[in-house]
């Protein structure tokens, strides 16, 4: 009974949202907007619960008897400090905003720096890790398109017939990515339909 009830709620909400999308100005559009607002609010509450769960996970890692993880204490101290300052000074306070920004920016920037180095290293490791025809095509096309988009061949555009060839080559990655994106969009649509018809129920295993 519970299962049928969940499927009904999920399917009816899904169909109402779809119908609202195709009926601008009608009551269905109003229902759709409200349902989406509820979804956003629920998503925010879910995030809050998940953050509290994360705090509990790190708390357990610090205060466990076996395999204690001291690094988790940095998370707990940072989290409680920012939370308390936010509660005491308010979310609009300049000090709180700067503190928040500094913490987020420093983490994101350092991770980006590591990512840049990791990706540069990946280029060198690529051919040693994978030695097959597809990898060879992948590697060669990467170098060719890097050169092509760097503008190094722009002088050759004055030569007759070169301009259409260069333009054609430049459109190849766009064509490829469009093809992949069409496939992904179809897959996303069919996944959504499976949930809409209740054959896939992520909310009820």
């Amino acid at each position: 009974m519970k299962k049928i009830f969940l499927i009904l709620i999920s399917s009816i909400s899904g169909f109402l949202i779809i119908l609202g999308l195709f009926s601008p100005g009608s009551i269905l559009e109003y229902i759709r907007a409200n349902l989406l607002n509820w979804a956003v609010i629920l998503s925010g509450i879910a995030l809050l619960i998940a953050i509290l769960n994360l705090l509990a996970v790190h708390w357990n890692k610090v205060f466990t008897d076996t395999n204690r993880d001291i690094a988790s204490s940095f998370f707990i101290v940072g989290f409680i400090t920012v939370l308390l300052i936010g509660i005491l000074l308010g979310p609009a306070d300049h000090f709180f905003i700067n503190l928040n920004r500094t913490i987020i920016l420093s983490v994101e920037a350092s991770m980006m720096a590591v990512l840049a180095l990791t990706l540069a290293l990946a280029c060198f490791r690529f051919f040693t890790r994978k030695q097959n025809l597809l990898s060879l095509i992948f590697g060669i096309s990467t170098i060719v398109f890097l050169l092509l988009f760097s503008g190094i061949l722009s002088l050759g555009e004055n030569i007759p017939l070169m301009k259409p060839i260069i333009t054609g080559l430049k459109s190849l990655p766009i064509a490829g990515s469009t093809g992949i994106l069409i496939g992904i969009s179809l897959g996303a649509t069919i996944t959504s339909l499976r949930i809409l018809f209740g054959t896939d129920r992520p909310y009820d295993r």
Binding site: L47, A50, L54, V57, T118, G187, T199
Partner: protein, 249 residues
């Protein structure tokens, strides 16, 4: 949306409903065969080896919320988690799942919790086994790296929406000598994971994981419908290009 789009969409829904009903209610469904992807076969082997050696698995569910266009990839991630849980029933080391979104984390925890209820003897440790590792792109990766580079881990599966930052997670797993399979709906993520991952699913192959991991006829059917629609679009593109070449359009 104009009427043409609405008609096309309704046609699309009706087509899927009719094809679904025909396949579901006729013996045709018994003949449904899908081509097995070698990456998924290798993943199954790796899960088997992990269980044999008492090692764990890390499943990364990506960073996307369910209420945007990348939500479908996250749903596939949850489905994959469910299938992997089914396979790792005998493991002493239950899988660890990380996510970058609150709603996906709660759904994954529900999956884990329900699995614990269904299978006796499987401890319900969902609180520390499924968690949000960070709410932003990079904090998610920073929080997931310790889980993917643990010594008692042998397999990591990344299914969901992950950008180029997937490289950091895969690199950490590679250093620990873990087998990795990645499937993302992000183009940059696909390119980076092709370089770093042992097995990579490109393009829409991410949506075939549920059908590949179990013998559910509905999943197989949806994969066939997906393939059919893709061919319809390919033919339509070629037809429109042909009309443009001959000057009709």
């Amino acid at each position: 949306m104009d009427n043409t789009n609405l008609l096309l969409f309704l046609f699309f829904i009706i087509f899927i409903l009719i094809s679904g009903m025909i396949f579901y209610f006729t013996p045709l469904k018994n003949w449904l065969e899908i081509k097995k992807i070698s990456s998924i076969i290798n993943l199954k082997k790796s899960i088997g080896l992990s269980i044999e050696h008492g090692k764990g698995l890390h499943i990364s569910l990506g960073k996307s919320n369910l209420n945007n266009i990348h939500g479908a990839a996250s749903l596939i991630g949850i489905n994959t988690l469910s299938k992997i849980l089914d396979q790792s029933i005998l493991s002493d080391n239950p899988p660890v799942a990380t996510s970058g979104s609150g709603d996906v984390t709660l759904l994954a925890q529900t999956t884990f919790q329900n699995f614990g209820k269904e299978k006796a003897g499987f401890s319900s440790t969902e609180q520390s086994n499924v968690f949000l590792s960070g709410p932003t792109n990079m904090s998610y990766i920073a929080g997931a790296i310790p889980s993917s580079s643990k010594q008692d881990l042998s397999t990591q599966v990344l299914v969901g929406n992950l950008g180029s930052e997937i490289g950091l997670l895969l690199n950490a797993g590679n250093r620990a000598g873990n087998y990795s399979l990645s499937a993302t709906d992000n183009l940059e993520g696909q390119a980076v994971s092709y370089v770093y991952s042992d097995e990579t699913l490109i393009g829409e192959q991410i949506f075939s994981i549920p059908a590949q991991l179990d013998n559910n006829k509905i999943h197989a059917l949806s994969l066939i419908v997906h393939d059919f629609l893709r061919w319809v679009i390919i033919i339509a593109i070629i037809f429109v290009a042909f009309l443009k070449i001959i000057g009709i359009l």
